[in-house]
């Protein structure tokens, strides 16, 4: 899927407000977010700041999305638990999966988090789905995305979509 198609899918679902910290997993997605005149994208210095900004959008009745990589997952845990979770502030969090499955995939700094990512996300008990290449091939991506968004806004909590390398290129 191209970054443009991914953004189009989110725009069609009323996501126009974004923040995040870049990740090479998403190819040119961040420049698409920056250059699309319909969108607002705030480059955050750290992932928890992106969650703070996106939560400000959410409470102002705008659907919001954070895009980041899994190496920043630890940085958002306090925010999504002690803030979004108890104040019921929904945010769609799109996370790139560096070090998929652990060693020897990707660079050494991604091995441990690459292996632990899904366990950590599942422990948070937030709505969660992951997208791999076959989900694009058999057109399951939009179903998974819609299912996640429905849960996020029914329960008013953040939800995570974990995206494998090569899905967006």
């Amino acid at each position: 899927m191209s970054p443009e198609d991914f953004v189009k899918a989110l725009k069609e679902r009323d996501f126009l407000y974004f923040s995040g910290v870049p990740d090479s997993t998403f190819g040119s997605l961040f420049s698409v977010l920056e250059n699309d005149q319909d969108l607002n994208y705030v480059p955050a210095p750290k992932e928890d700041v992106a969650i703070g900004i996106a939560s400000g959008f959410s409470i102002s009745k705008k659907k919001s999305c954070v895009v980041m990589q899994n190496s920043g997952l630890g940085n958002i845990i306090n925010a999504v638990t002690s803030f979004n979770g108890i104040y019921k502030i929904p945010v769609l969090i799109v996370i790139g999966w560096r070090g998929y499955g652990g060693k020897p995939n990707d660079a050494p700094e991604h091995w441990i988090m690459g292996e632990k990512t899904t366990e950590i996300i599942k422990d948070l008990e937030l709505p969660f789905t992951s997208i791999e290449n076959q989900d694009i091939e058999n057109q399951d991506f939009l179903n998974k995305l819609d299912g996640l968004i429905e849960r996020i806004y029914n329960e008013n909590i953040p939800g995570i979509i974990l995206i494998n390398k090569g899905v967006i290129k």
């Binding site: 407000y17 923040s19 607002n40 705030v42 955050a44 210095p45 750290k46 928890d48 700041v49 992106a50 969650i51 703070g52 900004i53 996106a54 939560s55 400000g56 959008f57 959410s58 409470i59 102002s60 009745k61 705008k62 919001s64 306090n78 925010a79 002690s82 803030f83 108890i86 104040y87 019921k88 502030i89």
Partner: protein, 190 residues
């Protein structure tokens, strides 16, 4: 000149601001004291998630351009979120008033020292792009006049407050979920 207590400073701020200002207060004693002094539905008491009040307020200010967003930080929470300070200028936000109640302590956790005495928040925020940066040390009238007449552009105020603490101030007794839902109703611009 003796310093104002934090409670006195909050009392002055809350009496001088406008009714339609949105107030975001940071975790711990600051939210408790705002709740105690002047509870309003357009206050957002941010219990927990220390350091996040400024980024949350910034997101709100970006959408609600016709309202002023006031963030009440402490020196500890401001130090925790220094990385957020360059963003308002970068984003061209002007409806943002950032106030720090600086007692040099993490008072809510038992008065451990912060490092705020060895730095200058006024200089830092100035260099981060805040158009107006002020330091208030003490005088009640000075703070009243400043809050009443502060320009409608990106502004920061550091208020040095005493380390006194009023132990009678209760916890915020409103459920977080209710704080959110009623606050959200003040964010009208869809």
């Amino acid at each position: 000149m003796s310093l104002l207590t934090r409670l006195e400073a909050i009392e002055i701020i809350m009496s001088e601001i406008n009714d339609n200002d949105l107030v975001i207060s940071t975790t711990g004693m600051i939210s408790r004291e705002v709740f105690y002094i002047k509870e309003r539905t357009s206050n957002f008491y941010m219990i927990g998630s220390m350091g996040l009040a400024s980024s949350f307020g910034l997101g709100i200010a970006m959408i609600n351009k016709s309202k002023r967003v006031i963030v009440l930080d402490g020196d500890g929470s401001l130090l925790m979120s220094l990385n957020t300070l360059p963003l308002p200028k970068y984003l061209g936000i002007s409806n943002f008033l950032h106030i720090c109640l600086d007692n040099g302590l993490y008072q809510s956790t038992g008065s451990q020292k912060t490092i705020s005495n060895s730095l200058d928040f006024k200089l830092i925020t100035k260099s981060m792009g805040y158009e107006n940066s002020y330091l208030i040390e003490g005088n009640q009238d000075e703070l009243s006049n400043l809050i009443r007449s502060i320009p409608e552009s990106l502004s920061f105020v550091n208020i040095k407050v005493s380390q006194d603490q009023n132990l009678e101030v209760p916890r915020v007794s409103i459920e977080p979920e209710i704080i959110s839902s009623r606050f959200s109703e003040h964010c009208f611009e869809k």
